[in-house]
Amino acid sequence: MAELKYESPQTTEAAVALLAAGGPTARVFAGGTDLMVQMHEEMIEPTLLVDIKRISETRQITFEDDYVRIGAAVTGAELGEHAELKAMWPGVVEAVELIGSYQVQGRATIGGNLCNASPAADSVPALIAAAARVVIAGPGGVRDIPVEDMPVGPGRTSLAAGEFVTSLLLPKRAERAGDAYLRFIPRTEMDIAVVGVGVSVTLNPDGTCATARMALGAVAPTARLVKAASDILVGNKLDHAVLEALAEAASDACSPIDDKRGTIVFRTKVAGVLACRAAAIAWQRAEKN
């Protein structure tokens, strides 16, 4: 039986070195709410856990010139208590806050949610809709990519050996901007999205849509940006015809599976329903800003 080692480096460089030396059975350890469950169920058997929570960059929320930087190991509870961020990106924050329960919120991180690469991860569609970028540190230095390029399949990311996520960048918001995230679960809490929809819009002074992004979760192997949504929304108001087109675009973008969490028919239909509802909320928020 392999031994399990635990390290908690204080710098990004040290973490990268440990991960690079640790090989494929080394794992980043953030909140552990996915990792520990997977270890307990013997789905993975890591030999090295690199806890990134002592690296200060991963634990901070900072407002910079063009964007807000959220450390990868910031927890759902911390995001939920950040009034300024919540006011700017209510959809992203509500998505992160949907993760688990009170207890889970105190541990679960935004970076962990992304890097676990579950197609149903709640924060990811909201982050994609928000046009967020991921900052990655690795043996070759630092790079950043759009969130949608991070997951490449269920449980798989585009991270190379020795790389890990240090932070996420959210663009700063102008006036008349709003976002929203909605998911469908068969219960009210403690469940995994059967469908998730994130929508972000900015409006023109006349109330028509200036920019829009919509992303879906749990309806394909990875969360998806629905490119057609922008064409449907931009220049328009949210009337009946637009909503119908939006629902259709959402349903068309789905390529789900039948599994224990939902059927193809159900997921496809509900993606359209939630797309309209999330767009309406994002719109309302934008109008108030």
């Binding site: 068969p186 224990k260 509900v270």
Partner: protein, 761 residues
């Protein structure tokens, strides 16, 4: 002393008193199954079948045995085999032949998760690693999950030595159909001929798990003289002792079982799983062995309740008189016989006076874990079908659902289909209460529907033992042999305090081990407050008699002249005012100097159970675009006989309703094409969480059971019986069509709504 009088002014009975187990539970001090550890103990892990149905060709343990830290490995070879039991079969079949095979697979594995081998090692990690070193060669066989399919000729046969019992043709080929039970009366043909409306429907319900929060766990030690001590989470340690002794061919007195604090059972902890394995491993190693199941193991290998397929036909006259009812229902028993078919027949139509009726229930084996009891075993699925059909009859005849039931309600002197005769029952009172409840008339919003259903349950009585001890300082211990699942310690204390006339705080209720008490049957069947409570009353009455005798001796008068009143001995005759009454405390202080310690005990076989009825009203709102159901209001009205501890009684009623909501809306076992269970955790086995349910209102109707000293009826089970039917009925009324297949999950409801839309176009 007389039996219950409703007019009695009780000091403790019916009052809201603090729970005796509360402090330990909120501080975390209470010790559950896996909180026990013993120096030098080994950890047991069980290897489980990855196949739904396969022949075991060979098992190679050599590599596992060679792993450092592994102390013993066992297979079925270490568990004694037993012959099949012979008829007549008891209502609950505890066939050692089956139990032996369920504990450890013998010729074949019969379900995904079936135990195949077990390891005892110095750490859990080593034990888990050893499991991976066990080589099992399987010959995979076709499997069957559905009871109707399994009962057909040509279906894959699970137990090749099982022949349909009671089949007059003396079957030559084995069958998954173990037996059927029929209850009938009257002339069906004539009954249906009289009817103005006949409906025929099929209902399907899926197996659901008891979902207790504490996984199964035990620890066994064996001493050099062959005596075993077992600590386990169970609903009945005497039953665990009996089953282990029988299975392992041991003497009863050599096994001493202590029940841990229990984190829920609901019928699921009435039998043995890992206990005999831990005992055998401790015998093989001479060391204590601890076995704790994971949630995944609990789902894969411990009993859910039955799933059912029912074909029902009912007829009624325009005035609402039910003229005939007929049902065939297939219950899947899991891998071994023993679905609660008798209970199904008993409860099917037993709330109603129907002249012509037949109910037949089939006990069928399928490749799923063997079913265990679950809160009114066999009844909620029967009620789902019967109440569903009755709601449709009432609806189509344009009769109010409560009036319809009042018209057909059974009363004193009527009999259930299995011959239970009703004494004083509260059915009409319950129905009237529902009708007059504000909930019944409350307006409904858009997309909302209201559902109603009625449930009947005949609780258990049986063997209970109690030992009560008066201590020198006037405090009292009351020991029972029943694990406290739903607040029995509180009720025992209340009844003892009421009898003795002392403060409840002076009484310490405890659950004693099998070495300290007479036999006590399970904490199950809603029997404990009834039967064990009765024994408590007897035991403390014996104490009272001894105290009266002590006072008589002290005063030099006849014991017949001493009465017990408000916690003290008082001379009966007038003119004896100069004799000062002696309190329980004073007498307790004298006892050891005047003859010896004072105790009372009682070992009874309680009869005189009372039928109980629970009626439930529920409102739901359905999201027409997603099929999501929100229960918005829920009221449970139940005849509880007498609520000894109302807080607990209400808790039972609320718990039953919550479990019914889960059963109706989301809970189901999901198998893949190979028969492997896919949802082995609470994430995907969707029991309700707190935010899924509304506040459950409760209305206690108290029509005392005249047979019991305090009028008790069982309350734990009746409250689940009508719940799935009531919720389903609410969904039907919200969306405007019948729904017959539980669970009513969002995809099913959405599909139904879409079909309605298409039909309307």
């Amino acid at each position: 002393m007389s039996n219950d009088q409703s007019t009695t002014n009780y000091r403790w009975v019916g009052k809201r008193t603090p729970r005796p187990d509360g402090v330990d539970k909120v501080t975390g001090r209470a010790r559950y199954g896996d909180d026990m550890s013993v120096p030098g103990m080994l950890h047991c892990k069980i290897l489980r079948s990855p196949h739904a149905h396969a022949r075991i060709v060979s098992i190679d343990l050599s590599k596992a045995k060679a792993l450092k830290g592994v102390k013993a490995v066992l297979t079925c070879a270490e568990i004694p085999d037993h012959p099949l039991s012979e008829p007549p079969y008891a209502p609950i079949i505890n066939d050692m032949h089956d139990i032996s095979r369920n504990v450890m697979a013998r010729e074949k594995v019969l379900y995904d998760g079936h135990a195949v081998a077990a390891v005892a090692a110095t750490s859990e990690r080593i034990a888990r690693a050893a499991l991976k070193l066990i080589d099992v060669e399987y010959e995979v066989l076709p499997h069957v999950l559905d009871p109707l399919e399994a009962a057909q000729p040509g279906a894959p046969i699970l137990n090749e030595d099982q022949f349909t019992f009671g089949d007059e043709t003396e079957p030559k080929v084995p069958s998954n159909l173990f037996r059927s039970i029929t209850g009938k009366r009257g002339d069906l043909e004539a009954g249906f001929a009289e009817a103005d409306l006949i409906i025929e429907r099929e209902f399907i319900s899926e197996p659901v798990h008891q979902g207790y929060i504490e996984p199964l766990a035990c620890i066994a030690t064996t001493s050099e003289d062959g005596c075993v001590e077992l600590w386990t989470t169970t609903q009945g340690h005497f039953v665990i002792r009996a089953l282990c002794a029988k299975l392992l061919n041991m003497e009863l007195a050599k096994i001493r079982v202590t029940a841990s604090e229990i984190g829920g059972g609901f019928g699921g902890k009435n039998t043995i799983y890992g206990e005999p394995v831990a005992i055998r491993l401790s015998q093989m190693t001479g060391r204590p062995v601890r076995m704790v199941m994971t949630r995944t193991e609990v789902f894969r290998a411990s009993g859910p309740t039955v799933g059912s397929r029912s074909k029902i036909k009912m007829g009624a006259k325009k005035d609402g008189t039910i003229t005939a009812a007929e049902v065939d229902t297939w219950y899947q028993a899991g891998a071994f016989k023993g679905a609660p078919v008798g209970r199904a027949v008993e409860t099917y139509f037993s709330s109603y006076k129907i002249a012509n009726v037949r109910a037949t229930c089939y006990d069928v084996c399928v490749n799923r874990p063997k079913v265990a009891a679950y809160r009114a075993p066999g009844a909620p699925m029967a009620a789902f079908a019967a109440e569903g059909a009755i709601n449709e009859l009432a609806d189509r005849l344009g009769i109010d659902p409560i009036d319809f039931r009042l018209k057909n309600a059974v009363g004193e002197g009527d009999e259930s289909l299995m011959g239970s005769k009703y004494g004083q029952i509260g059915l009409v009172e319950v129905l009237e209460k529902v009708k007059s409840h504000p909930h019944y008339a409350a307006p409904l919003g858009p997309n909302q529907g209201r559902g109603f259903a009625l449930g009947y349950w005949m609780h258990g009585g049986g063997l209970s033992s109690v030992s009560a001890h008066l201590l020198d300082d006037g405090t009292v211990t009351v020991a029972t042999g029943n694990p406290d699942i739903g607040g029995s310690r509180s009720s025992m204390r209340v009844m003892a305090a009421e009898e003795l006339g002392i403060d409840i705080e002076l009484i310490k209720p405890i659950v004693a081990d099998t070495g300290s008490m007479g036999y006590s049957h399970l904490t199950a069947g809603s029997r404990t407050t009834f039967a064990t409570g009765w024994a408590v009353v007897n035991a403390v009455r014996e104490i009272i008699d001894k105290l009266r005798a002590l006072a008589a001796k002290k005063w030099g008068i006849s014991v017949d002249d001493v009465i017990w009143e408000s916690g003290q001995a008082v001379p009966k005759k007038a003119g004896q005012d100069r004799i000062k009454p002696l309190s329980l405390k004073e007498l307790a202080g004298m006892a050891t100097k005047m003859g010896g310690a004072i105790a009372g005990h009682s070992e009874i076989n309680a009869g005189g159970v009372g039928a109980a009825f629970s009626a439930q009203l529920v409102d739901v709102e359905v999201d027409p675009e997603t099929g999501f159901v929100t229960p918005t209001r829920y009221t449970v009205v139940q005849d509880v006989g007498r609520a000894i501890s109302p807080d607990y009684v209400e808790g039972q009623m609320q718990g039953g309703a919550v479990q019914g909501i889960g059963w109706a809306l989301n809970e189901a076992y999901i198998y893949d094409a190979e028969g492997r269970l896919q949802n082995t955790g609470f994430l995907d086995y969707r029991m309700p969480v707190a935010s899924d349910v509304p506040m459950i209102d409760t209305v206690l109707v108290e029509v005392p059971n005249p047979n019991h000293p305090y009028g008790v009826r069982g309350v734990g089970e009746p409250c689940l019986v009508p719940a799935p039917a009531a919720v389903a009925n609410a969904v039907e009324n919200a969306i405007g069509r019948t729904m017959s297949w539980l669970p009513l999950s969002p995809p099913k409801i959405l599909q139904a709504i879409e079909e309605l839309k298409l039909a309307a176009e």
